[in-house]
Subunit: 224 residues, 2 copies
């Protein structure tokens, strides 16, 4: 029987590549997108397209209202998304976001009987986010293996972060080789309702630079 894996899918470039890697590794992919009140809603629609295009078995969207807490440019309309690079941890950091995403993935994995979670975190380009670091991922895996009935009964969980150490260009080359159509993904922090990218936020700049460095034409649809 094919092993099931829960794949966190945001609709962006990184998680689409991670899904392609999980499928290539032979997993039956159960994709989970989290509607946490992010301002870039077009991402969630992109996630649905990506799940379908890359042969996910199931795609589920779960709501959790992190916007009620505020504190981030991605969830609080009063905090603008920066249009230029900044130093330190950016205001687009969503407090404890990856902890919440992984906790939800763990809950679903346990219900499904899945022992594998794939997460497209990347520590290279987003080094400003503390919860994208490899030591955070190891600490979550350790927590997960104390948290669940499955782990207690001898079915430990493995957290896969296959692109964590790759540059954006390496991610794009890997995904391109696996047949990922990046035209259907949305990375922009303030994409329009139809998924057009602004071209100037951190996410757009990193993404565009990645295509340039990879020598792959950038298929992103930008606001003109």
């Amino acid at each position: 029987m094919t092993r099931k894996a829960v794949v966190l899918l945001s609709g962006g470039l990184d998680s689409a590549t991670t899904l392609a890697i999980a499928r290539e590794s032979g997993y039956a992919c159960q994709c989970l997108s989290v509607d946490y009140g992010q301002r870039h809603r077009a991402e969630l629609e992109a996630a649905g397209r990506v799940a379908k295009a890359l042969g996910a078995e199931v795609h589920r969207v779960i709501r959790v209202d992190l916007a009620a807490f505020g504190g981030s440019a991605l969830t609080d309309p009063a905090i603008p998304v920066p249009r230029a690079p900044s130093s330190g941890i950016p205001v687009t950091y969503v407090p404890a976001r990856n902890t919440v995403l992984l906790a939800l993935a763990l809950a679903w994995a346990e219900v499904l009987g899945a022992q594998d979670i794939f997460f497209g975190a990347n520590a290279v380009d987003y080094s400003g986010y503390p919860d994208c670091r490899p030591e955070f991922m190891r600490a979550f895996e350790r927590l997960a293996n104390l948290a669940t009935k499955a782990a207690v009964e001898g079915r430990p969980l493995v957290l896969h972060t296959p692109i964590i150490d790759l540059t954006k260009a390496e991610i794009i080359r890997r995904g391109t080789a696996l047949g990922v159509d990046y035209a259907i993904t949305v990375s922009c922090y303030q994409a329009t309702a139809t998924g057009l990218a602004c071209g100037s936020c951190d996410a757009c700049r990193l993404r565009h630079g990645g295509f340039e460095a990879a020598g792959v034409p950038d298929p992103t649809r930008y606001v003109t």
Copy 2:
């Protein structure tokens, strides 16, 4: 300035006692209840009463639809709540519930600038739940201190679990000494809409036994 603490408040006996302890310790208590689709909805109303009675500064309810995943008698109407004790991990265990609750508390704590979370987990009476054990709590604290901007910038988080090693009778004596009115709390897994307890589920039996052992009259309102 009074230090803020996030206190997870379910509306049951354990979390009410934990709130009383946090307040006694001098914290300005920011109570968080999570509506995760639990069948015992009267708990959430009880949480509001408890927060008010014990002088919480703020009480917030956040929704996350764990019921969409199913897999527990507490969230899936198709799985009945057992009326007699069982061996092993009970079907009332909600997959990864405490990981999700703590992740949400962490998110709010970071936004508030709070460095303390109080959680009324108890490892004695509920030893069947893996995510109530002290080693799980330590692993979460470790994760939290890798996860957040606050921790990276030198404001570490402390996870307080003041009743984790107490028996139910000890918890009740402690709370009674601190003025907790247990009549307004709801512990029953299948309480009626008005908060009447069934008297036969695991939670009711542990609670009633606790009052007996503590020599405190049981103020619980039962279905007659």
